[in-house]
């Protein structure tokens, strides 16, 4: 089973977001960079498949120099090789998918895994768009994956509102990974010996121009014109009360008459 996993480097979830003083973007000052949590789970899923069925795991990431560290982490988790599209491009997710598709095309792959969404832009577009550009099926928000022994098809479930959709798809395909896929809730941590081993694993850097895309294919389709922090929430009222019953009555009255959001 040969799997390609697309991973994105994002700010740690603890990050207090600040807006860049000059541009409508995140101020990277002091940010700790990590692998997007869903992508870590995708790596874990790929490694488990490799352990069961053999084959390779290749990780691919586009981003500036610092992304190399993220790719090394993935290699230390157990991936076999890495591709770094070393480009600090400010483009929309569909354009990212187009670039990734080019980079992935030549790689051995029965399956491409991406995260359900990157936790910085929360866009969730790369998976389905990648399916489109590679001309293969895509399944979004996958919770179950069972590859047939001949690796030609897979049974997949995906999460929808209040239910799960089951389907059977031909491979190769693209899957976007939801937390809990095949019961996976945590990624493995790289061990020290594996961190050492990762240093000699192949990591190939490519520039955008090496991929042979036309300029119009890498032109952004959307642009972030403004970025702002949400208006700070005012700390509201603390309800004074003697009995739980009184607290409840006061709260319901406030919700009905002051906030006017409750109709019962």
């Amino acid at each position: 089973m040969n799997t390609v996993v697309c991973i994105k480097q994002v700010p740690d979830t603890e990050t207090k977001v600040k807006v860049h003083p000059q541009r409508p973007a995140l101020d990277p000052e002091g940010v700790k960079w990590v692998i997007s949590p869903y992508d870590e789970l995708a790596i874990e899923a790929a490694l488990r498949m490799k352990e069961k069925m053999g084959g390779t795991v290749t990780v691919v990431s586009m981003g500036p120099q610092r992304v190399e560290e993220t790719l090394r982490t993935a290699l230390a988790m157990g991936a076999d090789s890495a591709v770094h599209i070393k480009e600090d491009l400010d483009v929309d997710a569909i354009t990212v998918a187009r670039i990734l598709a080019k980079a992935i095309q030549g790689l051995p792959r029965d399956l491409v895994l991406v995260g359900k969404q990157a936790i910085d832009d929360d866009s969730g577009q790369v998976g389905p768009a990648l399916g489109e550009f590679l001309g293969v099926p895509s399944v979004g928000i996958a919770t179950k994956l069972e590859v047939a022994a001949d690796k030609k098809s897979a049974k997949v479930s995906r999460q929808i509102e209040g239910a799960e959709e089951n389907l059977e798809i031909p491979l190769p395909a693209v899957l976007s990974v939801q937390k809990g896929l095949n019961g996976i809730h945590e990624p493995r941590y790289p061990t020290l010996p594996n961190i050492m081993k990762a240093k000699s694993k192949p990591l190939k850097a490519q520039a955008l121009k090496d991929l042979g895309l036309k300029p119009e294919e890498t032109a952004p389709r959307t642009q972030v014109a403004e970025m702002a922090l949400p208006p700070p929430r005012k700390a509201g009222k603390l309800i004074e009360y003697e009995t739980p019953q009184e607290a409840a009555q006061k709260l319901l009255t406030l919700l009905r008459e002051e906030a006017k959001l409750l109709q019962i």
Partner: protein, 327 residues
């Protein structure tokens, strides 16, 4: 003159509420753009009337038994074909598992730009402008488009459903369904309701009652479910609850769970960690019930009750029940 379209979502034989929300927004945008509103309906023709009543002036209907269940490739082929032929200025869909899966494929295929999970949309200087949160709500962005066709998914509950006009008769256009066999291979085989099935979906709920580690034990969640039932609310949870195995991940609210923006979010026994706040701080009104007056959740709560949730939550259920009985 730009037409504004909505891709309708059909579940269990009915049009979803998010589709009606999108139609309301489409009407507003079409007014500003000087165009018409359109809807793409992959499903029973009878539903065109509902779409018309909610503002669609023209409904493209692809009614085919092979497409009864969703299939990303087959559906994308139909919508893309119509978009390429008629070139609407903008195409909207609900930011549900359906819209989120379908529109990126359609956008990739038609060369459109796409903004997902938007909280509002405007029409300015002949272009679509999208407002969307990023970093799970820690920041907000205004997104502009460089492409002639512009697409967006609109977060459920972000905009109201305007009153319907049941008499409206939309023009219906039947679309011949030509899908290749490969695309038909990836049609969904079956839909299985999950344990939470039938309950109100978190991302679509207008009220959410969430419980955190302060619930102490999974069985105690009964009091949250009781309150939710009384208020017509969905039930959510913090990650601590999910990690402890008390609730499946589909309940999780936060940066690595669901981002929600209900009218009312009631957090019981949740401390208010940054990752949790990220997922719910765009709620219109936040209520916090926590025994620790210094819990960070109180810094964002509109109404706070410092106290024991095991006393307050059942009291709330009881008082809500009494209010309802009074009518």
């Amino acid at each position: 003159m730009s037409d504004i379209w909505v891709v309708a979502e059909v579940r269990d034989g009915a049009v979803k509420r998010t589709t009606l929300e999108c139609l309301g927004k489409a009407r507003e945008l079409a007014g500003a753009a000087g165009g018409k509103t359109g809807a793409v309906l992959i499903g029973p023709e009878g539903l065109a009337k509902t779409l018309g009543a909610h503002g669609a002036q023209r409904v493209f209907v692809a009614d085919d038994p092979r497409l009864k269940n969703y299939g990303a490739e087959a559906y994308a082929a139909i919508v893309s074909g119509l978009v390429a032929q008629h070139k609407p200025g903008a195409v909207l869909a609900g930011a549900t598992s359906y819209g989120k899966d379908l529109l990126p494929r359609v956008a990739a295929r038609t060369g459109a730009g796409l903004a997902t999970d938007c909280t509002d949309l405007q029409w300015k200087d002949g272009k679509l402008v999208a407002l969307r949160p990023v970093y799970a709500g820690k920041a907000r962005t205004t997104v502009t488009f460089t492409t002639p066709i512009q697409m967006a998914t609109l977060r459920p509950n972000a905009v109201p459903v305007p009153p319907a006009n049941p008499g409206a008769a939309p023009e219906t256009v039947k679309v011949p369904v030509q899908v290749d066999d490969n695309a038909l291979k990836t049609i969904v085989k079956e839909t299985a309701k999950t344990a939470t099935g039938g309950a109100i979906e978190l991302t679509e709920a207008s009220i959410i009652c969430s419980g955190g580690r302060g619930m102490k034990d999974p069985a105690n969640f009964k009091i949250i479910h009781d309150l939710a039932a009384e208020l017509g609310a969905a039930v959510g949870a913090s990650r601590a609850v999910v990690d402890a195995g008390w609730k499946p991940h589909s309940f999780q609210v936060g940066q690595t769970g669901k981002t929600v923006s209900p009218n009312i979010y009631i957090a019981s026994g949740i401390s208010g960690a940054i990752q949790h706040l990220a997922g719910m701080s765009s709620s219109k009104c936040i209520v916090a019930i926590n025994k620790d007056p210094n819990a960070p959740i109180f810094k964002v709560a509109d109404y706070g009750i410092v106290g024991d949730l095991f006393q307050i939550v059942p009291a709330l259920t009881e008082e809500a029940r009494k209010l309802k009985a009074k009518g």
